[in-house]
Symmetry: C2
Subunit: 258 residues, 2 copies
């Protein structure tokens, strides 16, 4: 038998309501980056993503389940009154399972040889897909520069399909990456070598940089080179999510990551 509701926490014997302080904290954690940073906690929504977090050995602090649902974790479980979780989660569809997880300490890129850099990406869906591409292509880590949308927001975690739990993500500016010995190659819509003609195997430590949706990587950014994806059709044929899939797998092939 899995742990039943209430068996691990006497306080959850009756379903808690919308005004309960635990529910209000969940709401703040869903909405506010500052709350996530100060507490070191994030809200994971839905059974599939909760199982991904557990499989990546993230530590579940508390689980909240709609009345009658079977808990997914074996930690402290709170039964929640009907309709309450629908008002808390970031998705429109009802999620009978919501869990609080502790965010692991950020790791440094000291041991990484291939990283993907999201430079001031603003769309959560794009950042999630970029993280997913990097994980699938065997990159060691993802770096976000200051100004990028929060990689721990529920929308990013969901768009990453759980990849966020499996790949380390840290925040640092581009020049700090160069000081750490990385060769920075930035994606551009119009300048640089063709991605299929680039020497991806050359640099000992490679950072592939993808830029903001509207502005790209700053032309004056401290990078070592530029790469573009030759394409047909119109000028704006590719978005950053598509570019990340194409480039990550080209880099993976060039560097023998897979």
């Amino acid at each position: 038998m899995s742990a039943g509701i209430g068996s691990s926490d006497p306080s959850s014997e009756s379903a808690i309501g919308f005004r309960n302080p635990r529910i209000q904290r969940l709401r703040r954690l869903v909405a506010e980056r500052s709350e996530r940073r100060s507490s070191g906690l994030i809200v994971v929504e839905g059974e599939v993503l909760i199982r991904e977090a557990l499989s990546a050995r993230w530590r579940c602090e508390e689980e909240f389940v709609a009345a009658g649902a079977v808990p997914v974790t074996n930690g402290t479980v709170h039964a929640v009154a009907e309709g309450v979780l629908d008002r808390v989660v970031s998705t429109e569809s009802a999620r009978p399972h919501v869990a609080l997880f502790a965010v692991p300490e950020p790791t440094s890129v000291a041991d990484s040889s291939t990283v993907l850099v999201a430079d001031r990406l603003s769309d959560p869906g794009n950042l999630g897909t970029v993280i997913r591409s990097a994980e699938a292509a065997g990159f060691d880590a993802v770096v976000v520069t200051p100004g990028t949308v929060d990689d721990l927001s529920p929308k990013v975690v969901r768009a990453s399909a759980g990849s966020r739990f499996h790949v380390p993500v840290s925040e640092m500016p581009l020049d700090a990456l160069r000081e750490a010995g990385f060769t920075l190659i930035a994606s551009s819509s119009h300048r640089g070598s063709a991605h299929v003609d680039t020497d991806w195997a050359g640099p000992d430590r490679l950072a592939l940089v993808l830029g903001n949706e509207a502005h790209g990587v700053d032309p004056d950014a401290p990078v070592d080179g530029w790469v573009r994806i030759a394409h047909g059709g119109r000028a704006e044929s590719l978005n950053v999510a598509m570019a990340s899939s194409i480039l990550c797998f080209t880099v993976a092939q060039g560097r023998g990551l897979l």
Copy 2:
């Protein structure tokens, strides 16, 4: 001066309301595939997509603009009362411009040498991205098999970022493609040759087949070969949209499309 509201259609001198038959037809065209098929018309939402359709030389039948907005096309224009278009369009954000376009006659794949096949894709966002990938990679055409979500739905057109206007899309079953002389290579999550080791240049006529989100391409489908994208991470690391970007550009490189 661009054509003012009412200048090209006396009936639009006063803003039309929600119960106007033209508005009701718009609603049906947004919602119903059968209405689009029987009329040969689609609704294009928003100024950016309308301009894409015009640049692809699709024929605009009528334009509907919120009161006070400047028309984008030079065809027949109807001014619409405030708030009415918000109840018609498929997106939550208000769109001051909506236009009816005639769908060109479907072209055959007789003159195509490289096509992408969407085999029973069910998600409009995925089909839109697949079409966008195919166009950007220089494919000649897209084929959808029976059972695929309607490629003319507003959600697909929007997800394609207008690529739907620039690449011919036709519906046919896989065996008809084989009879037309295409070599069919289907994407799989687990079988076939690695995509980077596949002889993409070999077939005179190549059809790359991407399958349904949940079930993939039927293992018994009449295809000539299978290809898989080697990847790290977990089993479900890639979705069909990401796979389309990676595979289309690998095919483009192998066949010299760009």
